[in-house]
Amino acid sequence: MMAAISPQRFPLRVVKLRKTYRTKTALEELSFTVQSGEILGLLGPNGAGKTTTINMILGVLEPTSGSVLIDGIDLSKQRERALAKTNFAAVYAALPGNLTVKENLRFFGLLYGISSLRQRVEELLTEFDLGHLRDAKCGVLSSGEQTRAALAKALLNRPQLLLLDEPTASLDPSAAQLIREKIKTLAARDGCGILWTSHNMNEVEEVCDRVMFLSQGRVLLEGDPKSLPQDHGSPTLEHLFIRVAREPLVTP
């Protein structure tokens, strides 16, 4: 159940976000919101603009125009305040391998200005079953353990907005299932808004409350992942994904 929240205080509000590189348009006036407790799936083929969108929300890529508001705070005007309310985990942004799990959590905890950090680190080590790995260097952990450590880091600041870029990409089905359960619990329990990207359509259907299909920097489709395929004459979400990726749809 999504919590009622005033429109100005959505965990994420993206308004007419646009990115161009010289003559190439990577993203065309993208607007959407993520509500409290909602998991929004950002889908699309490679090069659709998903990572560009995530990078702009994280403040590591400047939009050509448009704005990003995190919990009502304009990222371009109050970068530190806005980023203190968000966090992320991505397969391509592993934690420094030369620090232990505990050291990484303390390091990032300080960057995020967490008070009672020692206690928070212990909570996360327990929650993600990392207690026995606390003194292991992140570089020697398995993919599943690294993902759990990255998620623990992503939750250090109890973010209003969590960005997860293919969080289960390198995990076995059992580990991926555990991660999905944790994320769903987090959204329901803490009311955290989540933006999730994945190429696994079964996972998206299971986890996301809403999905948005991007192609060539534009939103082609948006809706409930369970009813969207039928609405567009596709038997499954994966089938719909393939159609969208290969040819632009005409929405009914």
């Binding site: 592993a94 232990t100 300080l110």
Partner: protein, 267 residues
């Protein structure tokens, strides 16, 4: 500025040292070799010169101060390079860490790491070669402050350079102090250099320091004018280096370079 993020940057470096004590080795080894090598050279020069000139304070003192400056620079740039090597830019710059907090963290890290080398140098130079390092008194504090500022300036400039040109450009950083040393007039008076080199030397704060140090050792009193000149040049260059880094960082955010930085060369 916020204390916690700055403490985070410093703590990370301490964790790295604790996790891999071999990192302490280069902090101590190179400075010790420099002091031993130059200590014996100055002893030899004293024995063959036959003059009343004592080479130890001028040359060994020069080596010690120049190494101090170099260590400060390397302390800043190495702490920055740790983030390059561990491909940590996305995690770092997608956090609430501000540029000023990051630079402050790098500077404090550098103070801590370079102080290890400085202590080793002072102990060796005074214990083995009888350098009366602190006999210069108050000017020494001013000299060291100037060299500290210049080391920070070089470190910030070097970090900006790597951020702009990509990870492979770290190889440009290591020879930087050696490249500047002929102009810094560490071992000889500025007047020894040809005119065009003197012009470059005047743009480098260390030349003011070493000219001042020689003037002081020659009994010329407190070299106030040289120090003021050095402070002015140093402050201007620190401002320019910080401005350069901030511009490069903003450009990297505009183009998405920060997010793509894990590639070997981003140039």
């Amino acid at each position: 500025m916020s204390l916690r993020p700055i403490a985070g940057i410093v703590l990370r470096q301490l964790y790295l040292l604790r996790g891999s004590p071999v990192r302490v080795f280069p902090m101590v080894t190179w400075v010790a070799i420099d002091i031993v090598l130059w200590g014996f050279i100055t002893r030899y020069l004293n024995s063959v010169s036959g003059s009343s000139v004592n080479f130890i304070p001028a040359m060994l003192g020069g080596v010690l101060l120049w190494d101090f400056c170099t260590r400060i620079m390397q302390g800043v740039s190495t702490a920055f390079l740790e983030d390059v090597w561990s491909r940590n830019f996305l995690n770092l710059f997608a956090s609430p860490l501000s540029i000023s907090d990051y630079i402050a963290g790098l500077v404090i890290t550098s103070i801590l790491t370079s102080s290890v080398g400085v202590v080793v140098m002072i102990v060796l130079a005074t214990g083995v070669f009888h350098l009366q390092f602190f006999s210069m008194g108050l000017p020494l504090v001013a000299f060291m402050m100037l060299l500290f500022l210049f080391g920070i300036t070089l470190g910030i400039f070097a970090a900006g350079l790597v951020l702009r040109l990509g990870p492979a450009s770290e190889w440009l950083l290591w020879p930087l102090p050696a490249l500047l040393s002929p102009f810094a007039a560490v071992f000889y008076p500025l007047a020894t250099l040809p005119t065009w080199m003197q012009w470059i030397a005047r743009a480098l704060p260390p030349s003011y320091v070493f000219e001042g140090m020689r003037a002081q050792l020659a009994g010329g009193g407190f070299p106030l004018q040289l120090l003021l000149g050095g402070i002015a040049v140093s402050a201007a260059e620190l401002f320019l280096a910080t401005y350069f880094y901030a511009r490069v960082y903003k450009n990297a955010v505009r183009t998405g370079l920060i997010a793509r930085y894990s590639a070997e060369s981003a140039a």
